[in-house]
């Protein structure tokens, strides 16, 4: 009976560290598994910040290509996920700095992305508009904490700041959101 169960139950998936070790051992397919595991989170982060599906796809693709090429230099000081997020975070910031792209990102909240449904209510639209007015890094910190549910320690590693600085960024962003919402209401 135990043997039968063992035959039908698939083995638990390898964790990231094991996949990295397999990849370093020459097994290219191990990296594909890392892609499958993290691509959704990275894409969502990029899409939330850039508000453009094509740009988000581009950033996601480039983040994995960079990770693939630099994995030998990954020392494991943070988790692979944090490291990957950090690569994507930097790409998003660089991407958004391009004036045209930044403008598109800012405008998008007044005109939601084509795939997104129309906001259900006025307050959501206002909140979205307020989020768009946050400085990019502050917005990323808020999104990483709230949507990706990453602990502040990890957010800090991704944003390359101290944990206290990440908390303060988050705090100021939320205060600013409240002020912006009040201004929008007025």
């Amino acid at each position: 009976m135990t043997l039968q169960l063992a035959l039908v139950t698939p083995p638990p998936p390898d964790d990231d560290e094991t996949l990295i070790a397999r990849f370093r051992g020459g097994e290219r397919r191990a990296f594909d598994e890392l892609v499958a595991r993290h691509e959704k989170a990275i894409f969502r982060m990029a899409l939330r910040s850039l508000r453009d599906q094509a740009d988000a796809e581009d950033v996601t693709q480039r983040a994995f290509v960079q990770a693939f090429r630099r994995l030998d230099g990954f020392r494991g000081d943070s988790s692979f996920r944090t490291w990957l997020y950090r690569i994507a975070f930097n790409l998003v910031v660089t991407h958004a700095r391009d004036a045209g792209r930044a403008r598109r990102a800012m405008q998008s909240l007044d005109a939601p992305p084509p795939a997104a449904p129309v906001e259900r209510d006025e307050s959501s639209r206002r909140l979205r508009a307020a989020v768009a007015q946050l400085p990019l890094k502050q917005r990323l910190v808020v999104e990483l904490r709230i949507y990706d549910e990453l602990p502040f320690r990890e957010v800090a590693q991704i944003a390359d700041c101290s944990e206290d600085a990440a908390k303060m960024n988050f705090h100021h962003a939320l205060k600013k959101l409240r002020v912006l919402l009040q201004e929008n209401e007025a």
Binding site: F68, A116, Y147, L177
Partner: protein, 156 residues
């Protein structure tokens, strides 16, 4: 808001992590901070709703995974060669250093007392450098020799 409340205000981010027991205790006793914390939580809740209201953001495009794998298979672009920069910068620095060295080690003809006339009362002869003996070395034609002779005779 009191100074104590302001101290806690900066720690509201901990409400998310549930890791600030002192803040929680303060909130039970301070109505003003409790109201602030509620507004804080409402904003966070609104942000969560915002994400949930856009299911399109939760999906990944069909071709994303395949696109990434294709990109991984592409050969890496030819890496820029940082050593080139070092070689060029090093070469330029060496050339500048050599030029500076040559400048400082060049034959020095200038003497501080050059402007003063070593033979008072005798005007310097045009074309004759009375401070530079090298000037007299080499081929001297008759005309020039006559000039020099006259010059010294005059001085004596």
């Amino acid at each position: 808001m009191s100074a104590e409340c302001r101290r806690f205000d900066e720690r509201f981010a901990a409400l998310l992590a549930d890791d600030d027991e002192e803040l929680r205790r303060h909130l039970t006793t301070c109505a003003e901070c409790r109201a602030e914390a509620d507004a804080y939580r409402r904003t966070i809740w609104g942000l969560h709703q915002l994400d949930a209201a856009n299911p399109a953001e939760g999906a990944t495009p069909d071709g994303l995974h395949a696109g990434i794998l294709r990109a991984l298979d592409k050969p890496a672009p030819i890496a820029r060669r940082p050593w080139r920069t070092f070689v060029i910068a090093g070469g330029l620095s060496a050339a500048l250093a050599a030029a500076a060295l040559l400048f400082f080690l060049r034959p020095h003809h200038h003497h501080p007392h050059r402007s003063s006339n070593p033979m008072p009362g005798v005007e310097a002869l045009d074309g004759i450098d009375d401070e530079d003996p090298c000037h007299l070395i080499g081929d001297i034609d008759d005309e020039e020799l006559a000039k020099v002779t006259a010059y010294f005779k005059k001085g004596v």
